[in-house]
Amino acid sequence: MLKIKNIHAGVENKSILNGINLEVKPGEVHAIMGPNGSGKSTLASVLAGREDFEVTEGSVEFLGKDLLAMKPEDRAREGIFLAFQYPIEIPGVSTVNFMKTALNKIREYRGQDALDAVSFLTLMKEKIKLVEIDQSLLSRSLNEDFSGGEKKRNEIFQMAMLEPKLAILDETDSGLDIDALRIVANGVNKLRTKDNATIVVTHYQRLLDYIVPDYVHVLYQGKIVKSGTKELAMELEEKGYDWIKSEMEVA
């Protein structure tokens, strides 16, 4: 589904990613871990097409297409979803309105008719149940005066609505208490199918107790320095990132 080959990227002369290689297949969950500043969020942003980052080398193939050549909105329409670490406020625009606009833009791109109000509401009701979100939240201004937990839950609701092929969760666990974490993780798990894939970007292992990854990759100084299964995450939790750092220095 996703083939990242030797990606180098950075901002103005400062390189952040220094040759990332990663392949994600349908049905898989990959966790990307690493200390602060290792490039985790940059990788997520590069995949989503944020312009702040310049890709200087390498290629990304998504469902057989050249991802890096696509505009950010087309990447979304092709099925890439980024759950933001810091979801953005849009005053006066409700989640309902936002999702209706987004969904119909995506449908238009795929040559489908726009959903009428009734079908949209039916779909929304179904997804509300799935991710356990308070309906009243959805008619409020998007992310405005939302608590940290509400913002993240709203991201997962949007993910449920848009049914992406590849979801990238960028530090979705940050700022969540344990109950909110469980609800968010449950939502993500329910959305898993054999056809879609998830990349979970996180600093801590605890999210991975709920969203169990097939693979864990450790990012350090813009490179994947270690890959393994979920046991690697446990080991990291136990030994801390200094373990990776010292190992790298030895090498």
């Binding site: 989503a48 950010p72 909105e73 953005i88 849009i90 006066g92 606009t101 833009k105």
Partner: protein, 481 residues
């Protein structure tokens, strides 16, 4: 150049969608303005002597006045002698119903998306349509008539209800009020008249569409709305003008009169031709709108969505004379390319316990200049007056300007006056968030701007709110990134 600016440029390059014109044989006055022209207009309209005198008095006063220079707008001097002050579409017989109306006019309405027959059938909105200064069709009159509501063209009101017109004309906006009001008083061609009797709640939105048509024709509309004790009316005014290279002058006057416990809600969606992207052409919109809450507990609410005109000079105001009376002003003003807007309101608190609320949302794009100018005046006897003002500006790109000129005069210590102001830009983060959900930049900006203006848009009647949203999107098109 940042990405923002690029898209702004692309956005702004789209042409005016309503830019077409129809061929109506005009029965026009010769160019220029003189006592003779004033007499010509009055004669054309078979007006009574008193109205001619009223016009002439206004004209003579106008001669002594000077164009106001204080607005924050710039334009080449207007040659008032180079304007045609009267033109009427030719019609052989006075139409009794829509089928007798010139099909070309009907075609015009269809292009505007306001086919009268459709509107009549589907929405229950009575439309008094004005093309080039003459009312051509007034619908629903009979139904309204049963309730004693008068809704007709100004000319008809002069003929059929002279006492009412004579009693109220110029009582809210005197003929010597300002330069443009005086000009309008001298040469006004037609407009709308509305009278709601005591205790009657008007069962439908009353709606007028204005449209400037013949080239080089100034349009001078006059609207007078009288709401008797305990009555209610919601009035909608919408305008579009076809594309012209010459600048066209529009100097309208609107007067609202609310008696005890009466309520008038006046909504405007204005998209006069703003000129092209180089600032050529466009309407000069110099309008005087004012309402008086004459009786206790009365209320006047102005809502405006201003997206058009090369220059806008407009301050819908409320004189809060009655005790416990209430004035509101909700405004969205969008300027793009070289448009200039100087708009706002005046809230004059005279009565005790009077309240006013001002919500102004300016949006500046391209090389445009957008100014809010507002006055809150609490007079000495206005015990316990309250005002709340919120003035927000949204800037897109780095070549436009937003300005705020709030004037607050308080002569009574018991007054509470609050003023809040914000200036913001559409953030790249907001745009990216939308892009990542599959919403392209243009749609994202329309979405964000509609959200920003929501507090005002929600004041509009439903059908109008939808149209206003479309217009906002249309104005933003070719403008943003």
């Amino acid at each position: 150049m940042s990405k923002d600016n690029q898209v702004l440029e692309e956005f702004s390059s789209k042409e005016y969608e309503h830019g077409w014109s129809i061929d109506l044989e005009s029965d026009s006055a010769p160019k220029g303005l003189s006592e003779e022209i004033v007499r010509f207009i009055s004669l054309k309209k078979n007006e009574p002597e008193w109205l001619l005198e009223w016009r002439l008095k206004a004209f003579r006063h106008w001669l002594t006045m000077k164009e106001p220079k204080w607005p924050n707008v710039k334009y080449p001097p207007i040659d008032y002698q180079d304007i045609i002050y009267y033109s009427a579409p030719k019609q052989k017989v006075q139409p009794k119903n829509l089928s007798e109306v010139d099909p070309e006019l009907i075609e015009t309405f269809k292009k505007l998306g306001i086919s009268l027959t459709e509107q009549k059938r589907l929405t229950g909105v009575a439309v008094d349509a004005v093309i080039d200064s003459i009312s051509v069709a007034t619908t629903f009159k009979e139904k309204l008539g049963e309730l004693g509501i008068i809704f007709c063209s100004f000319s008809e009101a002069v003929r059929e209800h002279p006492d009412l017109v004579k009693k109220y004309l110029g009582t809210v906006v005197p003929s010597n009020d300002n330069y443009y009001a005086a000009l309008n008083s001298a040469v006004f061609s037609d407009g709308s008249f509305c009278y709601i009797p005591k205790g009657v709640r008007c069962p439908m939105e009353l709606s007028t569409y204005f449209r400037i048509n013949a080239a080089n024709t100034g349009q001078f509309e006059r609207t007078l709305i009288i709401a008797e004790e305990g009555s209610y009316v919601s009035y909608l005014e919408g305008c579009t003008a076809p594309m012209r290279d010459e600048n066209q002058l529009h100097a309208a006057v609107v007067e609202l009169y609310a008696m005890k416990s009466a309520e008038i809600k006046y909504s405007t969606v204005q998209n006069w031709y703003p000129g092209d992207k180089d600032g050529k052409g466009g309407i000069y919109n110099f309008v005087t709108k004012r309402g008086i809450c004459a009786g206790d507990y009365s209320k006047i609410s102005w809502t405006q969505v201003e997206t058009g005109a090369a220059i806008t000079w407009k301050y819908p105001s409320c004189i809060l004379k009655g005790d416990y009376s209430n004035g509101e002003f909700y405004s969205v003003a969008v300027t793009n390319n070289y448009q200039q807007a100087d708009t706002g309101t005046k809230m004059i608190h005279i009565g005790k316990h009077t309240r006013s609320r001002i919500v102004s949302k300016g949006i500046s794009i391209g090389k445009s200049q957008n100014s809010y100018r507002g006055q809150v005046h609490i007079l000495k006897r206005a015990e316990n007056a309250r005002n709340f003002s919120q003035c927000d500006s949204l800037l897109m790109g780095d070549q436009c300007g937003a300005h705020t000129f709030p004037y607050i005069d308080v002569e009574n210590k018991s007054a509470h006056v609050e003023h809040e102001a914000t200036t913001s830009k559409i953030g790249e983060d907001q745009i990216f968030y939308c892009l990542q959900r599959g919403i392209d930049e243009e749609a994202a900006i329309a979405l964000i701007v509609n959200g920003y203006a929501k507090e005002v848009l929600k004041q509009l009647p439903m059908e109008f709110a939808v149209e206003a949203q479309k217009l906002l999107a249309l104005t933003l098109e070719g403008s943003v990134g």
